[in-house]
Symmetry: C2
Subunit: 453 residues, 2 copies
């Protein structure tokens, strides 16, 4: 058996993030102010974010330096390993070569610290003392809690209620890092109270939790808001994943034909994919780039490409993205990190440009793939990551059927150690494929804001 | 800030395990057959273990080769990182340098796969199809389940009931790897049924679970037994930890003055410590080697050094060790991996030779240390590992008081992602220091077998 694990020396950890905006053939549509319908400027965003992050949000520089104190923290676990899935290949009987970038080695167990650390650092540099945020499964909330602990920031997390109840261990992790965590919708905000007045048992959604976190930041001078996905600067911070993978595949002497990532808000997918797409845009190899989303919350495959709010209470600016409508509440499936009504505007734009493909799977098939992966490779993936595993296995089986030995790269964005209750349900036969309500989707889409052309 | 993480290249992963028996000034006392009181021979152990492992158990060769298929699996996560705890040092204000070897990067989240993989491999080579074992917190059971999945062995795990109930995620992990797991005492064995007849609500103990697993192996021709600690060959397999740490400290340009590990059965402690003790025995630097155990199950600090059974039903041979008595049932504290009545005979022997020190802490102080560590370093330790963290912090604070900049190395043997319920209890103020019953200890010690001098 040839080499299994490809580790970069610390000295080769990327010094800059890769900004795909520099290489786009057509710029992404502007972010609009919902009152004026005019493009927002940096000052509009200043109540929510420190200026350094706002500048990254709109930058068209190809390379943006990673501050040394951020790299210093990254060195706790980065560069993350790239692993050749020899045993999975054998189990599938595929002639394809499968590689996975493993982001579960971070202290929080996922890729989310890649942006939590710089976001906390830029806020600390700007003199901010508190951060408010939302979280679904808890991967983002625990990552920002971790980052807050390192840079002395208080962190307040609004966790989608269904995940808050399903995943108490993630909450405990946030508290271990010193953050406070409440179930959303909560009584702490106007947005939360309005939802609870309609339905005291509301399961919550990322859109609602974002409203609550944004409200706290917008109404408290000492508090800024941090988002774990969707925004350009968040996707930017994740590009360290793909940049490292590119160097590691060079070590392995391979070049991927297909790159696969799971998509909720789009950040881990962007992280693995954007550096490869950028290479192609600059005249390099054309590859298939596949986004895999949950069939129960299929923004890329079933959503509308339109301007929409990022949250339920309509406190955010309008962004053009693939959306299921900001009032859409997805069913309570286990990949809580993928339960968002919209897709990152930059990922959506690339989809419109034909630079990426998208596919959707239901959760039972994804857990089946995850268990196969765990028994072959040893690592138990997070439910979100199971979607990427499923997508990669589908590609490997296609290669088998076609007799092709393509090189498949996917991002294993986190481990499932906090999500074992979902695996227990799967083994007990209690995990079912949950579908969204078509009528609710139609209603949510009918409520999209009208934006002048 | 100087370098944080010290990674060995895969090419430098040790090719041999280090066997401390080769360097002992006095051999450890022999293992005795409880019927004849004569030293056991390889044939006595053959019903339980494959011959290759029995030969390792009694070997006095200094270096024992690690089979290439075992190293191939190790490469999924090994060499494991050595990390300089810069932020913890700063938080403590200590002039000491603190390094930790991090074994939580394994797929099972602890050091246990270091021996699970070779044990499964040697059994598979010997044509064995099934393994039975016990587990406390579940770290060992999930590691053997992982190993069984890779080499096609069925694994049956008897898990101590209190941990089975406290830590359902570990059980789910075992099942994800395809193993079956039952609470011990169980109705599947004579040993289990006898205990349940006396007390249907018995919380279980490692001693009872060992009896059950040994009984299954001894009464089924196609099944062998695997133990996760205590035995010489298990400790041997863990020495890869200390050997790697030694190379990594050379990279860092440091040499430890104090080496700290937590001790339950003794395997992770042996793993980090034996290579350093061996160096000293061969004329090298004298270091302080500190074993940290739970005050609620203090075999090294409060037990008797005597021949005793390894299990409750007295199915095992007699070994000379620090023991609390084989009928001793420790309270249900959260470091389930440290809830064993005896200490590895080899660790006990080194204690008697004055080559190691031992200290004990209660669990609340250990969790306090673990939270301090998590907020400084980002990694949330397993409750077992919190004992090592506590021990290392105590040494660092001593250095501060004495104005000494000693080099402290400790083994962070696993992460706490499966143990967050214990952290939740800690934050809720519900975690208390549990003490054993002095009368029960006296009774257990009075029942030690009498062995002719």
């Amino acid at each position: 058996m040839s080499q299994t694990k490809f580790l970069l020396d610390e000295s080769k950890m990327p010094t800059h993030w890769y900004n795909i905006a520099a290489d786009l053939p057509v710029a992404a549509p502007p972010v609009l102010h919902p009152g004026t319908m005019q493009p927002v400027g940096p000052d509009d965003l200043a109540p929510l974010f420190p200026m350094e992050l706002i500048m990254q949000e709109v930058s068209t520089e190809r390379e943006i330096p990673i501050p040394e104190p951020v790299r210093e923290v990254f060195r706790l676990w980065r560069p993350a390993p790239l692993i050749r899935a020899h045993r999975l290949e054998k189990a599938l009987g595929t002639p394809a070569k499968i590689y996975y970038k493993y982001e579960g080695v971070s202290p929080a167990g996922s890729h989310k610290p890649n942006t939590a650390i710089p976001q906390a650092w830029y806020n600390a540099q700007a003199g901010i003392k508190k951060l408010s945020t939302e979280t679904g499964a808890g991967q983002w909330g625990s990552s920002l809690a971790f980052a807050g602990a390192l840079f002395g920031l208080q962190v307040q997390v609004f966790q989608v209620r269904v995940s808050y109840d399903q995943k108490p261990y993630r909450r405990a992790l946030m508290e271990t890092y010193g953050a406070s965590c409440v179930a959303s919708p909560s009584n702490l905000t106007n947005a939360g109270r309005a939802i609870l007045a309609q339905n005291p048992e509301h399961p919550g959604s990322l859109g609602i939790a974002i409203s609550e976190a944004v409200e706290v930041a917008a109404t408290n001078d000492d508090t800024k808001y941090a988002l774990g996905s969707v925004l350009n600067h968040v996707l930017l911070h994740q590009t360290i994943i793909g940049q490292e993978a590119m160097l590691q595949l060079e070590m392995a002497g391979d070049d991927p034909d297909v790159v696969v990532g799971c998509t909720g808000g789009g950040s881990n997918f962007a992280g693995i994919a954007f550096p490869f797409i950028g290479q192609q845009l600059r005249g390099g190899k054309k590859r298939r780039i596949v986004a895999v989303e949950p069939a129960a919350c299929p923004s890329l495959t079933r959503g509308k490409y339109a301007y929409d709010f990022g949250d339920t209470a309509h406190l955010t600016p309008l962004t053009k993205m693939h959306t299921l409508g900001s009032t859409f509440t997805p069913p309570g499936f286990h990949a809580g990190g993928l339960r968002y009504h919209g897709m990152a505007p930059m990922v959506s734009h690339l989809k419109e440009l034909g630079l990426i493909e998208a596919t959707a799977y239901h959760q039972v098939a994804c857990f089946e793939a995850g268990v196969l992966f765990a028994r072959a490779e040893g690592i138990v993936p997070a439910p979100e990551a199971n979607h990427a595993v499923k997508g990669a296995i589908a590609e490997a089986l296609r290669c088998k059927a076609e007799g092709k030995s393509e090189v498949i790269l996917f991002n294993l964005c986190g481990h499932g150690h906090f999500d074992m209750a979902a695996y227990t349900q799967y083994f007990a036969g209690k995990l079912t494929d949950q579908s969204y309500d078509e009528a609710e989707l139609a209603m949510a889409l009918s409520g999209l804001p009208s934006v002048p052309a």
